[in-house]
């Protein structure tokens, strides 16, 4: 590939570090952030604490899991595009293997009554996980009339029609711009984040928990 040997070593370190972080992300990005911080800031001293905080806030604005995005940012910061690729690969590989093994187990034993019953229990727990995510997201997302209306409208649209959710998401971005620009046009003061969000990282980055 023509990459210098030092770069290859650096990529290897990135891959290995995130390979170890990956399996700790049970239940989503929730439990992972402190682990990433410990590895990258304290142990390896790749980044300063302020840089890490900034990366975390960035990671939640990109699409995808916040853990994967954080890994990509750290990798990019350390070794450019290949660094980001190495970090993402490390982060995803353990999960990928675990999911494949779980599918194999499922395909083998899904007709066992006990397995089917356990899966129903897990199904209920996953609903709870999703509701928790909704609650956390709502705390950061809903703080004025417009955001309340958008949430309710989105929910009704999804329940009542067969609309492709893809367009609902695009519509949301458009509505955000129209509302904010409209309010500015009429000279109404508008805040795009919940008040106090800047002082409370939990509200600013609800996606930490997802």
């Amino acid at each position: 590939m023509g990459l210098p040997i030092d770069t290859i070593k650096e990529l290897g370190r990135l891959f290995w570090t995130f390979l170890k972080v990956g399996p700790s992300s049970f239940g989503g990005g929730y439990a992972m952030m402190p682990v990433i911080e410990r590895e990258c800031v304290e142990k390896r001293q790749w980044l300063k604490e302020e840089e890490m905080a900034e990366i975390l806030s960035l990671a939640s604005t990109a699409p995808g899991g916040v853990g994967v995005n954080t890994a990509a940012f750290v990798g990019y910061r350390k070794a450019g595009i290949w660094g980001a690729v190495a970090a993402i690969a490390g982060m995803t590989l353990p999960t990928f293997v675990i999911v494949i093994m779980l599918s194999l187990a499922y395909l083998t034993w899904r007709d066992e009554p006990k397995v089917a019953a356990a899966l129903k229990g897990v199904h209920a727990a996953v609903i709870a996980l999703i509701l928790m995510a909704a609650y956390r997201m709502a705390k950061a997302a809903i703080f004025d009339v417009a955001t309340t209306c958008v949430t309710v409208a989105a929910l009704l649209l999804l329940i009542m029609t067969d609309i492709n959710p893809f367009y609902v998401i695009l519509l949301g971005a458009a509505v955000g711009i129209i509302v904010v620009k409209g309010k500015q046009w009429f000279g109404i003061e508008v805040s795009t984040e919940r008040k106090g969000a800047a002082t409370s990282p939990q509200l600013l980055e609800p996606e930490y928990f997802i």
Binding site: A62, G121, A125, I169, T192
Partner: protein, 177 residues
């Protein structure tokens, strides 16, 4: 087939703001319109995706890819799902300082966050209680509600780790169902 999986999950990956729970309805829409899984297989797939570490959306992509086209399918679906993250991160790292305080950027997220909330709520309702159920109050519905409520209480009140909740619910499931 592989290409179709890749393109589908690439499209989902691009809009998976808010971590992934929000695109569960999107995944369901694609899965049923392509006829990849039936309703109960889909339900099991999401349950299994929730058991593994990592974002539930990416895990579902891996599972669905594996189920429809083997290991290659799993790989293509996962890459499709992750590629937008990689590209967005590279792009954001380059332009973020100019973007951060841009009113366009902020107002986009002002609108996206409530939509994502609506989608996640819909995912919970739909995945939970409307999927192929007759609507009658049965023992199974009550048990599901009870486990769901118990899990919520444990996570909210006692900050119990999700993996502990999932393991406990599996055990309770064996007893109740």
């Amino acid at each position: 087939m592989l290409w179709e999986l890749f393109i589908t999950f690439l499209k989902i990956g691009i809009v998976s703001f808010g971590g992934g729970y929000a695109v569960i309805p999107l995944i369901e829409y694609e899965v049923s319109s392509h006829g990849w899984l039936n309703a109960s297989e889909y339900e099991d797939a999401i349950s299994i995706a929730g058991m593994a570490p990592g974002p539930i959306a990416t895990n579902s992509a891996t599972l669905i890819g594996y189920k429809t086209a083997g290991l290659g399918g799993a790989l293509m679906s996962t890459i499709g799902m992750i590629l937008p993250s990689l590209l967005a991160v590279i792009l954001l790292a380059a332009v973020f300082y100019r973007l951060k305080w841009s009113i366009w950027f902020r107002s986009t997220f002002y609108g996206l966050r409530p939509i994502v909330t609506g989608l996640i709520l819909y995912a919970a309702i739909h995945f939970g209680f409307l999927n192929g159920k007759e609507g009658a109050i049965t023992w199974a519905t009550c048990a599901t509600l009870a486990i769901c409520a118990g899990s919520l209480y444990a996570m909210y009140k006692y900050k119990l780790h999700p993996i502990a909740v999932i393991a406990a619910s599996g055990a309770v499931g064996i007893i109740l169902f």
